[in-house]
């Protein structure tokens, strides 16, 4: 058998192109920000793990970025598979990116049934240009029959709210074991093929 069963909590970023998903990813992974879209800097990097200490236990978050597939085509359904949480990201200065989230929500519910869903309004630093209000976000959450487990406002440019959001998501995932158990049942006896072809199956692992 290969690795220990998905020991991390897979979290995916969803939302329109340009709302700041990769910026969130970059803040999370390296605590940096780049104004110009310099895709080259993230080439080859598509997920990143970090350990969070929460009240109940240590939680390892594994954040996944889309890889830019949503620019013109749709994201593959496999992106959603095995995820325990999804962050719906929109730009606070762009109501269209907010209004289209119901579509992204549908994708999450379809392909990652038991994932917890979080809402994140990005570009909070553009104070004077904010067009999506807290009330709008509350209404959206209510319309989603309380599928939304948390609402956050972040600025990847300044870093405001980013770490707080991930820490809060970590604690919420740490408390809830439901989706975890379902995922474990799903992957019972499954494994990832390993990196070391010549090693014996027992002592190999994915990383």
């Amino acid at each position: 058998m290969a690795s220990v069963k998905i020991p991390e909590h897979k979290i995916i970023l969803c939302g329109e192109f340009g709302v700041g998903k990769s910026s969130l990813f970059r803040r999370y992974a390296a605590d940096t920000f780049i104004t110009a879209t310099d895709r080259k800097s993230t080439l080859g990097l598509d997920h990143y793990e970090k350990l969070y200490k929460t009240k109940s236990r240590d939680v390892k978050l594994q954040l996944w970025d889309t890889g830019g597939m949503e620019r013109v085509a749709s994201i593959t359904s496999s992106y959603y598979k095995f995820s325990e949480a999804a962050i719906l990201v929109f730009a606070l200065d762009n109501p269209d990116s907010f209004n289209v989230l119901s579509q992204h929500l549908l994708d999450v519910v379809t392909y990652a049934e038991n994932a917890k869903i979080f809402l994140c309004g990005n570009k909070y630093d553009l104070k004077s240009q904010i067009l999506v209000s807290d009330a709008d976000m509350e209404t959206f959450s209510e319309q989603c029959h309380n599928l939304i487990s948390g609402i956050y406002k972040t600025s990847c440019k300044t870093g405001e709210g980013v770490e707080e959001m991930f820490a809060d998501i970590a604690s919420k995932l740490g408390d809830a074991n439901r989706s975890r158990k379902e995922l474990d049942a799903l992957t019972d006896e499954s494994f990832k093929v390993t990196t070391h072809l010549d090693s014996t199956p027992q002592d190999s692992c994915l990383c």
Partner: protein, 445 residues
Amino acid sequence: MDEEYDCIVLGTGLKECIISGMLSVSGKKVLHMDRNKYYGGESASITPLEDLFAKFEMPNPDESYGRTRDWNVDLIPKFLMANGQLVKLLIHTGVTRYLEFKSVEGSYVYKGNKISKVPSDDKEALTTDLLGMFEKRRFRNFLVFAQDFKEDDPSSWKAMPGFDPNTTPMSAVFAHFNLDRNTIDITGHALALYRDDEYLAKPALDCLKRIRLYSDSLARYGKSPYLYPLYGLGELPQGFARLSAIYGGTYMLDKPIDEIVFTDGKVSGVRSGSETAKCKQVYCDPTYVPDKVKQVGQVIRAICLLDHPVANTKDALSTQIIIPQKQVNRNSDIYVSMVSYTHQVAAKGWFVALVSTTVETADPEAEIKPGLDLLGPIKQKFVTVSPLFKPIDDGRESQLFISESYDATSHFETTCLDVLSIYNRGTGEDFDFSKVKHNLGDEEA
């Protein structure tokens, strides 16, 4: 899309997605388009179940099929050899991190109207019910020879005087070990996985390597040499598409492909409607270039939905059964592969079996009857007969590189060989796996 690219890839089947991934990783600017609005082309796993029924112009499935979203049905059945080329590609490109696998539970071979477990090592050779007492010993001696064989070490093939892996035909090796027709059939078709008997006259090296691939694959995860991904084979092209996107590849789906543009006999672009994307090379599957391929045969595939496992497989939730050609008086083998709800490809309690072979007669459905008969009652059956296409040239002249249709083999070895050959023809070099920095995403903070 009015931009200039190094390469445009048409179709998102598995071969095209692997090629797209390799090209992007190698630093090429890639545009990857599909006329369908989903990823995978013929390699997609169809979901929900209504879509499969609709594809075959049947009314919607009734409620006995459970939740239709739980179904992901492959159109082309194949397993991965645990130590084979595709697993190596998955590991070296890092695409393995997108996928979860299960080991296929049983590997069986059909002989005299019943199925038996495929014996693969010297111990199983002695306990199998496929062979008579004296034949078992001869088969065991042959397997020991095959297991000890090392291509670059002549002392490892002392057991057969005068043997040379590059000249001695396989038939002579079988003759030396005194194996009878039955044993040869099992060895060539269930272990070396040949589809017909042409290998007998060819040098033994290839056959011995294939037997080694089988036993090495079996050694990796135990139950059988085969692996299958959760959610179906359609996850494979998606994984490679993601690799390509992460290395800068651009994806466009639901895009009609109206013309491949040539300038002075070389490709110069691809037109969709009024837009034309310029490029130096085009890579595509045969369906995009019907006038540049020739038909070389046909494959019949029957997708069968079952509400029970296959008899005599110890209720295995996944299995492979090979019916060697001679057992049913044919020239090519019949393959039966079965997966189930445990792989997230069917609703709880359901099984999906695929019976396939190379077409030899005018009545292909009758040809697969021996395979269908093994399955027991079939709830629903979907039959396709697909032409097998090959490109009419190697593409070097026109810079238009066309993949071959997916053949009837039960695994991905020929698929990978085609991909690696296309990559070599297109770039003039073999793929350099060290270009993939797939460890980047896996490091701890």
